[in-house]
Amino acid sequence: MAKKGKKKVVKRVSSKASIRKKELEGPKEIAERIKKIAMEMVKEIEHGKNPRFKTKLRGRGNVVFDEDLGIITLGDKSATRTFLNIAHARKFLQTTLVMSKTYEYLTHNKTASIREVYYELKHTIGNTKENTFEDQRESDACIVDLEHSIDTIREKLNVHANPKGTLYGDITLVDRQHHNDTFNCLKLGRGGWSIMSRMEPHEIEIKKINAKYVLVIETSAMYERLVEEDFARKNKAILVGTGGQAARGTRRLIHRLHFEHKLPVYVFTDGDPYGWYIYSVIKQGSMALAAHSSLLACPTAKYIGMTLEDVEEYGLQNVTEKMKPTDIKRAKEMLAYEWFKNKPWQNELKKAMQLKIRIEQQALANKSLEFVAKEYLPKKIKNKEFLP
């Protein structure tokens, strides 16, 4: 996750329509795009030209905040890698290997973790002592290059990272890639459903939802508390536990719940810089994955808490904690982020820096265990007491 940097506002680089199109792309379309790139290279080779691979530049300088769409995205700067360049040759080779491997996954209906991709492709080159990949970072980098080159997410390349996050609530899913298993996430016990890394429509279909909103919860402890209090049933809520920073699959699911089913998304985190940033990544996307915000972000999400106002309203002063110097530094950086430049957030951040306090979700237990489920959340949602 990128953590710092100010974002400039530039002209929009993708339209809502094009995002919708991207959203629905399945393995066939993606495979075709890979093939197209490979064909270009072959053509160049056949015409005695230096084969090229073009990808988007991902440095800070190319990250922009699209105000219209409300997401962090990549600008249009690109980088070209050529084979006949002593500094690029190895990288070029690795890229073609990753292209060929993901093409094979997509056309043979296989999926793999990024670590598996690494092991599948690692081998000694010819009669040399050199390996195609020396460590996983090299293959990971090529996967990212390819994602950016064909403007999609790795999940659509049938490749994924480690999953994280749980789903609980009255929502019926169908696993299209696995016997068409159909299940309701309210009936899986208190553990809920483990969100997968690849949450693409052609893999996991959202069949039916009976809920009024989605509640995203930062800490596992709070998620468990709400399940135990039967919050989902009583409030017709879908609970999504992120367990810290939200994984790609979890973000993709939140995105889909909002865009496919028009559910409002409320984010519930600790009242500190780390919690705020988790919220901002869910809402606007991250700088590291700026190119994928259109498929991962949920610009209409709202922040439910914890806020400093909560501290005052519920008299939680004695259960706040002191901000560490790094927290204060982080808060200061966030003040400058384009997407925090609105009055309520500026006030919140400044206040926190002034009081030098932070407040955890669990602090609400100071009132009582049930307080958060019976009073705090329902009241806030009913009164629409959110931060934008």
Partner: protein, 547 residues
């Protein structure tokens, strides 16, 4: 040269006195260090040196192309026998005793010319050493090519410093040359940089007209063939130059001169002294130069030397110097060192310390088998792994194997910024540096006579000559390096090509081999790299046209 004269003669005088009181053997033992006979390995090398030098000098004087065979046998622990045979002029029954059985009897000691055998003990010294360590006489076979050859055994009477000849007998065959067999204890054979083999190797390099055959104690036969049939002319004896003499030299020379007056003594026995100089000297000394030189006193001689210092003389003539020559050094290095590249340089004569002419010859051998193999294999460039610089020092063609650290040649080599010449690290480079220092008087740093003193003019000249050679070598190295880089570049692309071709062919279903060929063509043509081998070129070209 002058110092040389002085030393020898004075030593001779002292010796003569000492003989009366002590035995020669005792003197020998006392002076072993000075004679280069310390250290088990070094002693054996010195013995080999003495015999080989004698043979080379004898052949040179007689105008014969030398062929020298040296055999070492291990008779027991630290006990060796050396057998040396040459094709030189040989010794007669009359001369053999003096040449091999009397210390300091050689005529060479009194001459002023460029000589190989300035250090050491001479062949008689070896006889003495053999006798002292084993109690045995040396065996000799000699012949002049005319009449019958003869054989005998020789030892030295240590009290009288006289040869003792036993078993003198004629042989029933003709033979030209000299063969000596001697036994030594307390010596050791090693194939190190200071051992006899390395000594012979270097001797062969500096004497390309000699064929040297060596049979090691291990039973190996190593032959260093001659690379030229040109026999160097014997060096000319030279008169001392006034700028390079000491008071002692003047006294000694004055006492031996044939001249009747000091003035004519100075004119006849020194170089570059004429009437003008005599007139100048007369003004500077307090006595009459018409005096009998045999009656010259120490203080008068001192006045003369002081006068020499105040007068400007023409630099001494370099006629006495006998360089090996650029072409011959080149051939020799090519044959014996077997490098990829050689550059040689013989500089014009120069003068040091005001009066001693000297000349420097450099040979730089790079790549191939140049350099010394080391244990350390951690070189950065794989081409140079485990090889470091080899500095071959010579004084008048005689290898200097010991005391390298104190030598002007070593110092000059290390004072040069080799990085400027494309040599990043002398410890990791296939480089052999040959330096022959030629002078009628080599300024050795110590009694061991294995290191040349770092006189300013000598250092300057050595550095200049080395840098001139280094510049030439640098050109070769950079061209070679560019070649290697090109090859590495090409190899790297070639290595990746099959992988790229396979990946792309898997996606596009295009023929993999066609892609490989086209990519190879691209690499060679776009990057201007040479093809790895002829055949591939031919196969590729037509296709290229067909496109």
């Amino acid at each position: 040269m002058k110092k040389k004269v002085k030393k020898t003669i004075v030593t001779g005088d002292v010796l003569a006195k000492e003989f009366k009181e002590h035995s020669v053997a005792e003197f020998f033992k006392k002076n072993r260090q000075m004679l280069g006979l310390y250290g088990k390995v070094r002693t054996l090398t010195t013995v080999v040196h003495e015999y080989v030098t004698n043979s080379l000098d004898a052949c040179e004087e007689a105008g014969i192309l030398p062929e020298i065979e040296i055999k070492l046998d291990e008779l027991g622990p630290e006990y060796y026998q050396i057998t040396i045979k040459d094709n030189g002029p040989g010794l007669t029954k009359d001369t053999v005793g003096k040449a091999l059985g009397q210390l300091l009897a050689g005529t060479k000691f009194h001459r002023l010319m460029q000589m190989r055998g300035q250090q050491g003990i001479g062949a008689s010294g070896c006889t003495m050493l053999s006798q002292m360590t084993t109690g045995k006489a040396i065996k000799v076979i000699s012949g002049t090519g005319k009449g019958k050859a003869f054989a005998c055994e020789i030892s030295i009477d240590p009290k009288k410093n006289e040869p003792q000849i036993y078993n003198m007998r004629d042989l029933d065959r003709k033979f030209r040359g000299l063969m000596i067999q001697a036994k030594f204890k307390g010596v050791l054979y090693r194939e190190s940089a200071m051992g006899p083999l390395e000594y012979l190797r270097r001797t062969a390099i500096a004497n390309p007209h000699a064929k040297i055959i060596f049979r090691s104690p291990k039973g190996e036969k190593i032959i260093f063939n001659r690379t030229t049939t040109y026999i160097p002319k014997p060096p000319k004896p030279m008169k001392p130059h006034p700028a390079g003499v000491t008071v002692d030299d003047v006294i000694t020379m004055a006492h031996h001169t044939k001249a009747q007056k000091v003035s004519s003594f100075l004119k006849n026995d020194f170089e570059r002294i004429g009437d003008t100089a005599i007139a100048q000297i007369q003004k500077l000394v307090s006595f009459d130069l018409n005096k009998d030189p045999r009656k010259l006193t120490w203080s008068e001689a001192e006045q003369i030397v002081n006068a020499f210092k105040k007068i400007k003389f023409i630099a001494p003539s370099a006629d006495g110097l006998r360089p090996i020559g650029e072409a011959r050094i080149r051939k020799s290095l090519e044959s014996i060192v077997q490098p990829e590249y050689v550059y040689t340089l013989t500089r014009p004569p120069k003068v040091y310390a005001g009066g001693y002419p000297f000349q420097v010859e450099i040979g730089i051998a790079y790549g191939g088998k140049a350099g010394i193999t080391t244990e350390n294999n951690q070189a950065k460039e794989d081409e140079n792994q485990g090889v470091k610089v080899e500095i071959m020092r010579f004084a008048n063609r005689a290898p200097l194997l010991f005391d390298a650290g104190n030598c002007a040649i070593t110092k000059a080599v290390h004072s040069i910024d080799w990085k400027r010449y494309g040599i990043r690290d002398l410890e990791n480079v296939p480089l052999t540096i040959f330096v022959n220092f030629i002078s009628v008087h080599v300024p050795y740093t110590g009694a061991g006579k294995q290191a040349i003193a770092d006189e300013d003019e000598i250092m300057e000249e050595l550095r200049l000559a080395l840098m001139m050679c280094a510049r030439k070598t640098a050109r070769y190295i950079s061209a070679k390096r560019a070649e290697i880089e090109k090859k590495m570049k090409r190899d790297m692309f070639y290595k990746y090509i099959p992988e790229v071709a396979e990946a792309l062919s898997k996606i596009t279903k295009k023929d993999k081999n066609k892609l490989i060929k086209k990519l190879e063509w691209l690499v060679l043509n776009k990057l201007k790299l040479e093809k790895p081998e002829e055949k591939k070129v031919k196969r590729l070209k037509p296709k290229q046209k067909g496109e």
